[in-house]
Each structure stands twice: as C-alpha cells, then as structure tokens.
C-alpha cells in the first residue's frame, strides 16, 4: 500500500521535470514505451531510470494513455521535438507505422536509440532488444525436453499479426518440428488476455481428453491456462513468455514450468546507457540482441528480487550480452 501511495508523488515529479530544463551536469533522456498496462514496459522504465541515475542523468517517460496508440505516440513525438531532450530511447508502438515519427526525430537532430521492437526505418544510434523468435524456440524446446520429446501440445497465441506473436509462435512451431513425437492439437488465439486464454483452454479441454503441454505466447495467458487446468483438475506442463513477477511466483510454486525472459530491465538500462554514452562522445555498441533466458525452478532466484534492487550491467558486460 505504502509503495502505491508513492505514485501520488509521480505527477508532482513529472511537473518538476517539465519545468526545470536539463542542468549542465545531467542530460535529459526521453524514454518512449508502448503502454502502461504491460508489466514488461514497467521493467523497461525502471531499468532506464536506474541507468540514468547511475550516470547522473534524468529521464522523461512518454507513455500513450491508450495502450499502443499510434496517433498518440505520434503526437508525443511532436511534443518531444519541440521540447528537445538531450536524447531519446524509443520503442515504437508499431514498428512500421511509427517510421514517419522516427524521421521527425531524425530531422530534429535528436540522437535516438531503438529498443525492444526494431523500427522498420529511420536512423538510430543503436538497437537493443531481445529476440522473440528465439524466446519462442527456446521455451518450447525446454517444454518438449521436459516431456521427453512427445505429447499432445496446445499453442495459445497472442494478438494475431503483432510482431511479437508472429515470431514467438514461429519459434514454438519450429521447436515442434524438431520433435516429431509431439503432436500439435490446436493453435488458438488468446489475444494476450488472461480471460480469453482461460476460456480457450476450457474449450480445448472439452474436445481433447489428453493435453500434455501448453505453449502460451505470454505469461498472463499461461496463468489463465493454468487456472483452467486447475478448475478441471487436470495437469499439463505450461510455459509462458516475459518473466513477469507473477510467472516467477508460479514457477516457484511449481504451477508454471518456465517463462522466457524478455529482459526489459536490461533493455531499459542499455538503451539509456547507449544514449548517454553517445552524448558524452564515448563509444556505443550498434546492436545488442539479448540472448533468451529460459527461467525455470533452477534459475529463478535473480529474477525474484524487486525491480528496484536489480542492477544494470556495465558497458564491458553489455558487450558480452549477445552483442553482434
């Protein structure tokens, strides 16, 4: 409760940030994320703040009030171009539709780092992201290894056509192809929503008496599927993706087999680090695609600590984190 009340201070802090221009010692980094609803972007923002604090800079958070709203992010870009922060750390709400926005930032000569979703165009100092395809592939491989390479599998997809979903599901399917003993019963949409995943799972259990594994394209859907299984007194191994706090709790209690870590904290840290380094005329890494980590009951401990206590990697460590 206490921590929630702390958010009351947020508007005040933001007002302060808007009125005081960047001081000589601290650059202002505008951080653009896609929404305020997905816990993943909260980890990105906390990572960005942590790195800015370490390097004695400031962040300004830009988040569309309507999740993933293209027009809203565009108008936020127009605002930021007027406000001229030292640099921008940018996640496009849509990797194609935001290209004109990125071009506006380029025209305004504000240095910009691309994180999370790779923009289809525009000039960036560097790209920091994870790889949805390998997250899907590695989590599914882990599930199939646990099942001994066989069994009846169900995929619960995210929002059809979204970049994350296309790549994750492609990864799932490629892992299934490597295991001819496994049978894909169905690949149905849950739209990244817990309730929809629960209902899809309930429906699929009606026509499939034996389901051994569930591949869900995010953690909320994985947990929804587990609720459905519990409700029907049935058991299956379930994996999710994102490594949310809820998923870690479920892994600890043995309900969830594993979750793929998308590593939002590191993305926030490294994106901000590269932006500030460029401003200080230090070398940057052009591209860091973080290696996927499958969080299981054997390695969840580092992910179990509160976000505020996590530490950002150093530049030397960053160059070893799957940099190309």
């Amino acid at each position: 409760m206490k921590r929630r009340l702390g958010y009351l201070a947020l508007p005040l802090m933001m007002a302060a940030a808007f009125t005081t221009q960047a001081r000589a010692d601290g650059e202002t980094i505008a951080v653009f994320t896609k929404n305020q609803t997905n816990p993943f972007f909260q980890t990105v923002r906390v990572g960005a703040d942590a790195m800015a604090k370490t390097l004695n800079a400031k962040t300004l958070q830009y988040i569309p009030t309507k999740p993933d709203s293209i027009p809203e992010q565009l108008s936020q870009i127009e605002d930021v171009v007027v406000k001229k922060p030292s640099a921008i750390v940018f996640t496009p709400v849509d990797y194609k539709a935001m290209v004109p926005g990125v071009e506006k930032i380029n025209d305004a000569k504000i240095p910009v780092v691309n994180i999370t979703d790779r923009s289809a165009g525009g000039k960036f100092l560097s790209f920091i992201g994870a790889d949805d395809y390998s997250l899907g592939l590695e989590t599914a491989r882990f599930l199939l290894k646990t099942l001994g390479g066989k069994g009846n599998i169900v995929i619960i997809e995210g929002v059809k056509g979204s970049l994350t979903n296309v790549d994750r599901v492609r990864g799932f399917n490629d892992a299934l192809k490597e295991n001819p003993g496994a049978k894909l019963l169905a690949s149905q949409p849950g739209n990244y929503q817990r309730l929809q995943a629960l209902q899809v799972m309930e429906n699929l259990m009606q026509s499939n008496s034996q389901i051994d594994g569930v591949l869900a394209a995010n953690d909320a859907m994985a947990v929804g599927a587990i609720e459905a299984l519990d409700g029907a007194n049935r058991k299956a191994q379930v994996i999710g993706i994102n490594g949310t706090k809820e998923a870690i709790d479920a892994i600890k209690s043995g309900k969830l087999l594993a979750s793929g870590d998308y590593n939002g904290f590191y993305q926030g840290c490294l994106g901000t680090m590269m932006a500030i380094r460029a401003l200080r005329e230090q070398p940057v890494i052009a591209e860091v695609v973080l290696k996927p980590t499958v969080i299981t009951k054997d390695n969840y401990q580092p992910f179990d600590q509160p976000l505020e206590q996590r530490t950002c990697p150093t530049f030397e460590e960053a160059s070893k984190l799957g940099a190309k």
């Binding site: 305020q36 997905n38 209902q199 026509s207």
Partner: protein
Amino acid sequence: MIDITKEALSPPRSFLSQDAIQLFYRLLAVLLICAVLAVLNESFLSLGNILNVLRQASLTFFIASGLTLVVLTAGLDLSVGANVALSACIAGTVIHTTGSSVLGILTGLACGGIVGLLNGIMVTALRIPSFIATYGMLWVLNGLTYWYMAGETLHGFPAGFRQIGSGYLFGLPIPIYLLLVFLGIGTLFAQRTIWGQEIYAIGANPVAARLSGIPVARRLLLVYAVSGTMAGLASIIFLSRLNSAEADIGESLTLPAIAAVLIGGTSLFGGVGTVFGTFIGALILTLVLNGMNLLSVSANWQPLVTGIIVILAVWLDMKTRRRAQ
C-alpha cells in the same frame, strides 16, 4: 403518436408479443448453432461443455444485463469494461490489504455502483449525451486504473473467495446459479414492475414519459447505477475466476457486452428489448467462440466470424421488426 394514458405505462401488448417473436427467432438461432456444432464435433453436446459455455457466457451476461436497461432508455454505457477493470483492481487491493473477502466484494460493488451513479449524474443533471459521458468516463477510469496499477498485476486470492467464480454447488458451477438469479431478477424487474415499465416508456418516448408524470431523471440515475453495480459484480466474478487483476482487462469486455445486448434484440433507439434476449445474445457469442475452439478454426478467422454474426444478427432483427410493424 403514443397515447399518454395509463396504458402507455404498461408496455403495449404488441411490444411484448413482438419481443416474443424475436426471442423465438433467437432461440431458433441458438438451436441451429448447437445442431451444427453437435454434428461437427462430438464433444460439443457433452454436459461438461454445456456447463462450460454457460459459465463463460455468465461474465458477459452480468455486464450486459445492466447495460440492457441503459440501452432500453435509448442510452449507452461505454464505460462498463473500464469499470470492471477499476473495480477489480480496487476490490483486489482491499482483499490483499485487509484479508477480508466480504469487504473486498462490497468495495467492488460500491466502486462499480459509484461509477454508474456518476454516469447517471452526467446524463441527467449535466445533460451530456450518454455516449459522450460514458466515453469520457471510460478514459477517466482507464487513466485511474493504469496509474494505480502502474503495470503491476494483483494475484493470489483466498480459497473461499475463489469459490464464487471457480467453485461448484451440486455439480453446477456457481456462476451459473448467479446467472439464473440475475436473469430472473432482471426479467421480473423490467417486465413486471412499474419502474421497469417506466424505463421502457422513457426509451420509447422520453417526452411522453415526462408528461405522464414519470420521474425521468430519477429512473435514468437508477438505470446507470444498476449498470455500474453489475459491472462491479462482474469484477468480483472476474477476480475470483481468474485469481488476478490487471489494468488492461476493460477493453476486451466492453464490446462483447454491447454485442450481446444488440444480438439479444435490444434496440439502440430504446424502448424495445428484454434482459432474456441479452442472455441469448451472450450465449450466441460464447457458443460461436466455443465452437471455433472445438473445431480448431484458425486464429485468423475467429474475429471475422464473430463480426459477421454480430452484423447478421442486428440486420435480421431490424428486418423482422420492420415486417412486424
């Protein structure tokens, strides 16, 4: 012209019989969908799946039942889904901090009801069209919920509380009992009470209703408060069933609820429709999704099929009504 006498207050007989005809068509549609699905998939007609469908339809129905009353007055409540999200997050926090499920349930219902009342005040006292007022409220609620949750998720609730959404009584899921209770109350209220009939009269002709002495503003206030309270109830069922609350649940709940009301035959122009029709609407939407899951219809086709069914249902409704008039 509508006759401004006492008879105008009780829904004219022709309305009721027309509603009866419409309901008959809808039940026929449900039977047709069921027959097709039963032929295509052997598990469809199992008792387990029928209970499954009814339980899934119940959440949409709870939200849509209150909404039906609003639509009967020729209004619309676009804030119901966002209301469910905020109520669920607040009720969840209360249960987590106090440990009391009862307190959480009461808070959830109160939160939903207060939001509804505010909608009602905007529509009556401030005379803002309901579409705009509740659309504004949708944003206010989203903003509050996103800010309050800050990207976090509440999860893990007491086992007793979880019974409401996930438990069974005499072999039937508890939400089905609640569904029957609220279907009964809603139908009796709308069809058999003076207040209910006044709501129909307001929707049919607000000027005539006012002239015949119906306290229009007070009835509208009631209708929006009921819609909000039902969203509060849905938030409790949601929390208890999903064992969690997050800020982004609203958007996925509003449109199915509106669709259920429309498929159920309640007219957006007010005065025509039934709560039972809304139940059938929720059932049709659920059956279609359930059927597509059972038949493993590709994820690409599911929204398309749902969209076509909504359009078809409303078109057929308008066509048959025109003929009846």
